[in-house]
Amino acid sequence: MNWLARDSRPAATVRLIIALAIIVAVWEAMTRTVITNRLILVPPDDVFAALVTDFSNGSLAKNSAVTLWELVVSFPVAVVAGVAIGVVLAGNRIVASTAEPLLTALNAVPIVALAPLFIAWLGLGFASKFAVIILVSLFSVIISTEVGLRSAPAEFIEAARSFNASSWQIFTTVTLPFAIPFIVGGVRVAFARALVGVIVAEFFGSLAGYGNAILAAGQQFNTANLLAYVVVLGALGLVGSILLRTLETRLAPWREVART
């Protein structure tokens, strides 16, 4: 039990496997006892079978190619743009105080509600998904970048200035390194939002993709197929989160050391 509490990769893997096993067991038990209507819930092995079918007939590959391409292209653009805007906001009080109410409003609006509009403007293909992903993920990257840059302790900045550091040197050696963990945190939140955004956008109109497949399965009452794609999305979210955490420890090793 003590071993499980450790902050090591094997321990984390074992914890994850145990958690997944519990979820599958509860799921299985539910389908046998409480929910016997197969339209509402199907047992894990049916879902697995549906996954295997879609894998062998090529649907999974086709849908993955569409959704992953949308994410792989759009999300990095959102991150780079968000960091850039955050840097501008952190560096300029006038721009920041002008933009902040707009950004807060942008964050309060459920952007996914605009997805039908984007579909109408930009079509069923890649462009509308690109726009939705950018808009849903931008905000948290901007804010975390700005907050991270602004939170750099004044003592650090003063020490850098005492060595006659230029504004650019203070940015690259003090405020930006200080902001990195904040930014990665914002990117993690943004990734979860992008995942939701791309699926909902595909619901509203698409030719293929996970959202397209889930919608089709739902309309055909093919619960097993629907859940199969939800499981794939869960796996995608998990992988994304693990990758981003690895990135965080890579970019901010001093925090990793702090934990041990």
């Binding site: 020490a159 850098a160 200035r161 005492s162 060595f163 550091a165 050696t173 001093w254 702090a258």
Partner: protein, 264 residues
């Protein structure tokens, strides 16, 4: 030999726009000879830290000038380096890269900065800790690294802003003797801000006593204790007389500062 410092009629008013503001320093003048070790003591509100920042060029004076080797100070320069009270080592840099920080800012390559930083790591007794991060070191060791970082840029004038204030009493005493040894080696000009009168007397050639609100030079006390000074000098009668004399100058203000804080 260079490293002379002239503070000439410096005053500083902190005034937010449209307000009367606070007179932090008024007509402060003193000079420091090359290689001299001086301390500035005073009650809180005497502008000790402010004068240090003006000497470094971090903030500008409202009036008067600071001259380093005859040249007026307008901004921080490589002839001066500061050791701050607060822990200002960058947590994402190893001790070696923290000590080399000032050299990197001067445009040296990473390898060059590390090569030049190493002797200073040795000087402050941190050999073997180069590749650790600041939070893995004790407060005393971190402050040694801070001193090394300031020394690594090879300044003419070393400015110390209550460098040992955050340390426990034993560590502080050890750090004082270490600082004296380092100073003895290459005799840089040192300006030390401290609220510990015994620290000021033990280390300095002269102690500049500030009065508070506004900060002014109240008196300058030459400390004629023989050098090199050992720890034992603190138990001599002369030492006690110096401490007593300086304390009596600022005692009233310290008490007033205490009661005014209690009232607010």
């Amino acid at each position: 030999m260079s490293g002379s410092l002239g503070v000439e009629a410096v005053s500083k008013r902190f005034a937010p726009a449209g307000q009367l503001g606070v007179q932090a320093l008024e007509n402060v003048s003193f000079s420091v000879a090359p290689g001299e070790f001086i301390s500035i003591v005073g009650a809180s509100g005497s502008g000790k830290s402010t004068i240090l920042r003006i000497i470094d060029g971090l903030i500008g004076a409202s009036g008067g000038t600071v001259l380093v080797d005859g040249n007026p100070v307008t901004r921080p320069g490589t002839d001066r380096a500061v050791v701050f009270q607060a822990d200002t080592l960058l947590p994402w840099r190893t001790i070696l890269d923290n000590v080399g920080y000032g050299l990197r800012i001067q445009g040296k390559s990473r390898a060059e900065a590390r090569r030049l930083a190493r002797p200073y790591i040795d000087l402050v007794g941190l050999r073997g800790f180069e590749l650790l991060y600041p939070h893995q070191l004790s407060g005393g060791m971190r402050q040694r690294a801070n001193v090394a970082r300031a020394l690594a840029v090879n300044p003419q004038i070393l400015l110390l802003d209550e460098p040992f204030a955050a340390l426990d009493a034993q560590t502080r005493e050890i750090m004082q003797t270490e600082l004296l040894e380092i100073w003895n080696r290459d005799r840089k000009t040192v300006v030390l801000i401290t609220h510990q009168i015994d620290e000021a007397v033990f280390l300095s050639d002269r102690v500049i006593v500030f009065s508070a609100r506004p900060g002014r030079v109240r008196d300058i006390v030459p400390i004629e204790l023989p050098r090199p000074r050992e720890f034992a000098v603190k138990r001599t009668q002369e030492f006690g007389v110096y401490v007593e004399r300086i304390w009596s100058m600022i005692e009233d203000e310290v008490r007033r500062a205490m009661t005014s804080t209690a009232e607010t």
